[in-house]
């Protein structure tokens, strides 16, 4: 029933108006006296020496990819869980196979050290 999404839409509009109104009101009343020091990026009181948009390693990519893999798995499990009560035995076996593959992959990744952050 798509109609039940209409209130969500209304909610988004209202929620959007909140910060916009707030920012507008604030813009009218708050002072604005910028100066060079105030506008400087914070780096503990020292002038930043290097740019913060340099490429530096965060070891983030592997985690992000793993996340995609696992999140897709979870998405698959949602519908499975919903109808689980209807044919438990079959679904259980099927899921064990499905998750089994996932778990093998998981341990492979673990042993490979991809889960190490440092």
């Amino acid at each position: 029933m798509l109609a039940s999404y209409i209130p969500i839409l209304i909610f988004i509009v209202i929620a959007l108006s909140l910060p916009i109104v707030g920012l507008a009101v604030g813009w009218l009343v708050r002072p604005s006296k910028p100066n060079a020091t105030k506008l400087m990026p914070y780096e503990c009181g020292v002038d930043p020496e290097s740019d913060s948009r340099d490429r530096f390693s965060v070891r983030f990519y592997i985690i992000a990819i793993l996340f995609v893999v696992f999140d897709v798995e979870t998405i698959f499990l949602f519908p499975w869980a919903i109808i689980y009560n209807q044919l438990p035995i079959f679904l259980f076996i099927e899921m064990v196979v499905f998750l089994g593959i996932l778990i093998v992959g998981y341990f492979y990744v673990w042993k490979k050290g991809a889960l190490e952050w440092v």
Partner: protein, 373 residues
């Protein structure tokens, strides 16, 4: 590091970041220039001097008596213990005897100061690692000690505690009861900190195996005090070169094994308990009599030099006093424990994460007033 990076396809740069001087966890105005690979520390350079006031130069222009309040302001967390070392040196050079009561009270106050200093260290160290509550509990206990300081010295932080030859005044009435009350409650309070920290898995994960340094290396880097003893080196000046009458009291010197942040933490916690024992012994044996010996109005040590080392809460605090026979010191060199210990930061943080830098700075227990003087 560069070679490693060039070999990879996705080449990344080392991020240079300043931690401090305006940073919540650098305990003042320490500035650490971090080179980060991701969050891993590749190199760390300390930049100090933001709080340099030239206290050594000032000393050369003051009489010995006038110097003393300035030494309160080097390590302001442990002002009582700081002044103590200098006065011991001057008294030794002049051959002044401090009456027994004065000596005992001095030791007691220095040990109280040690507890207060360690409490402040624990508070800040804990809040650096995120345990905010311990911070305020420690401050509550420290407040009690500061009240004792206030009652005896008339000031809380920069106490100007001792005078050449003894103390300014005798203990005020009610002091001993207040001290006893504090000492009776204190162990339970320490147990509470330990409940919140020592056994907590997060605390253990944050401190065990962080900033490991062996005893030999710690000596090489000039670490003293709890950081050295955390590495298992039994070097406590109160035992190694007793001064001021410490040999009359029984206490243990807690030692660590692994030389990591956790061991240094345990060593300090244990030291607080030992200090409490010393104070109890002092209070038990406290003799009567004057607190200030006969000292000349004008303090003029004979020409010569003396190195007076004491165990401040932070480590070996030395005063190298050179006299030319006049009323003003020819030179007073302060050997500040954390100025020298801070060098080891670079060695300790390498390879650790950024969050560990904070834990390690905390565990070295630096006071920038003392580092920069």
């Amino acid at each position: 590091m560069n070679t490693l990076e060039e070999s990879t396809v996705l080449d990344t740069k080392v991020l240079e970041m300043n931690m401090g001087p305006q940073h919540p966890s650098t305990h003042g105005v320490l500035r650490v220039k971090l080179k980060l690979d991701g969050e891993k520390v590749v190199d760390a350079e300390c930049i100090i001097g933001y709080l340099h006031r030239g206290i050594e130069k000032i000393s050369e222009n003051r009489s010995y008596i006038e110097c003393v309040p300035y030494y309160d302001r080097t390590d302001y967390i442990a002002a009582v213990a700081n002044v103590y070392g200098f006065l011991l040196g001057v008294e030794k050079m002049m051959g002044i005897e401090v009456p027994e009561r004065g000596r005992y009270i001095r030791i007691m106050m220095v040990e109280f100061n040690r507890i207060a200093s360690h409490l402040l260290w624990l508070a800040t160290h804990a809040i650096d690692i995120g345990a905010m509550t311990v911070f305020l509990y420690c401050f509550r206990e420290r407040e009690e000690i500061l009240k004792l300081f206030e009652a005896l010295f008339g000031a809380r932080l920069t106490t100007h505690a001792f005078r050449v030859g003894g103390l300014w005044k005798d203990l005020p009435p009610g002091f001993e009861q207040a001290a006893h009350k504090f000492l009776d409650e204190f162990p339970a309070r320490v147990d509470e900190y330990e409940q919140l920290l020592t056994h907590n898995r997060i605390w253990l994960a944050r401190t065990k195996g962080i900033g490991v340094i062996s005893g030999k290396e710690a000596i090489q880097w000039g670490l003293t005090g709890p950081p050295l003893r955390g590495s298992g080196v039994d070097y406590d000046l109160r035992k190694a070169r007793p001064y001021g009458g410490y040999e009359e009291f029984e206490f243990d010197v807690p030692l660590g094994e692994n030389g990591d942040t956790y061991d240094r933490y345990v060593a300090r916690i244990e030291e607080m308990r030992q200090s409490r024992l010393i104070i109890q012994q002092v209070l038990k044996r406290l003799p009567g009599g004057p607190v200030r010996g006969k000292a000349p109005k004008i303090v003029k040590p004979p020409a010569g030099e003396y190195y007076s080392g004491t165990e401040s809460p932070r480590g070996e605090l030395g005063y190298y006093i050179v006299s030319d026979g006049s009323a003003q010191p020819f030179r007073v060199k302060i050997r500040p424990p954390t100025f020298i210990g801070l060098q080891a930061l670079r060695r300790l943080v390498k390879g650790h994460l950024m969050a560990d830098v904070i834990a390690i700075i905390g565990t070295l227990d630096i006071v920038l007033g003392e580092v920069d003087r």
